[in-house]
Subunit: 202 residues, 2 copies
């Protein structure tokens, strides 16, 4: 077996760092002014350790993010309806997007930090690819819907962390209202236009 089993102090420290970072983000400090040194000291660990474990700042953020994302991914891939695969496309798209939105609402600060911290566009991130791919696939099962690729992007764009933060954070719009509005928006996209081509656009 190629894997040598990592040393236990290494794992312990990795956990410590994750926990520390979590804690720091919870303490509503604006993601921007949480320095790597902060995280290290909060975790009771040296900077070297931190960087060896996660590579760089973006790596740390990613690790945190994916840890939190994991449960949801499983629910989507093999869970019960409405998220799981055994749901009719229409409803599943709605459920999927609502889930993403809720996730962003619950993890605003982290998601924000991730998108901000340079690391290139979010569109290269692996998890984005996953969501987009999945969503696109489901969208394309809906009759009368074209451009699944673009549509998936456009819908996901409405759940961008900074937008969510703006709505829920700055404008203080209550969570349920944001969800309702977004659901409404999604529905408009899903429900095909009037049956016969009686509505403009030639």
């Amino acid at each position: 077996m190629p894997e040598r089993k990592s040393r236990k102090d290494a794992v312990r420290n990795r956990e410590a760092v994750l926990a520390a970072a979590d804690a720091l983000f919870a303490r509503r400090e604006s993601s921007a002014d949480i320095t790597m040194a902060d995280v290290a000291s909060e975790a009771g660990v040296g900077k070297g350790t931190l960087f060896r474990a996660f590579g760089d700042r973006a790596g740390l953020l990613r690790a945190l993010y994916e840890a939190r994302l994991e449960p949801m991914r499983q629910a989507v891939e093999a869970g019960p309806p409405p998220l799981g695969p055994a749901t009719p496309p229409q409803d599943r798209v709605t459920a999927l997007l609502d889930a993403v939105l809720c996730f962003k609402l619950d993890n605003r600060r982290l998601a924000l930090a991730l998108e901000e911290s340079g690391s290139g566009s979010p569109y290269q991130a692996e998890h984005y690819e996953q969501w987009h791919g999945m969503l696109q696939a489901v969208l394309e099962q809906i009759p009368g819907l074209t451009d699944g690729d673009f549509t998936a992007h456009a819908l996901l764009a409405a759940t961008r962390a900074d937008l969510v933060e703006h709505l829920a954070g700055e404008e203080r719009i209550p969570r349920e209202r944001v969800r309702a509005q977004f659901a409404n928006f999604v529905t408009r996209i899903l429900v095909p236009g009037p049956p016969q081509g009686l509505t403009a656009t030639e």
Copy 2:
């Protein structure tokens, strides 16, 4: 009058800096690795001058951006149809959003730089407020459309610089195709669902 008419070397240098920055961004260097020192030297000017004129990096970007945005703003506020005020809401929304998209397509690198360069969420930027406000106002003139505020945000989100860059830049989707897809998307939102509630969803 409080304004003291600035010295001519000051204005000259301001122009020089703007031009230099423009040039640098044209030279497709990834916005991230254009340093303030670069801009200064390209403009044949000291860093001090540059910072006095624009405050900070974000200030410079903003100045550039708004300069390029100006023509469009006028076209929207008082120009001829389809952008101007004398257009029926439905068509105007489409035109507006297409214009924004085109702008982003034409100024990808700059728009990207602006969104990336920290400076807080784009949602606090003044020009965003303007677009959003305008769009919302027009949207609310369309019968059967609720949540103008949210809808405006969501639609604009689909024109985010990094998304546009991803589509047109990475995925090499031709300009006209992106426009068409987006137009399609917008239309789906504008056209209210089927007249009678005859389409699924209960």
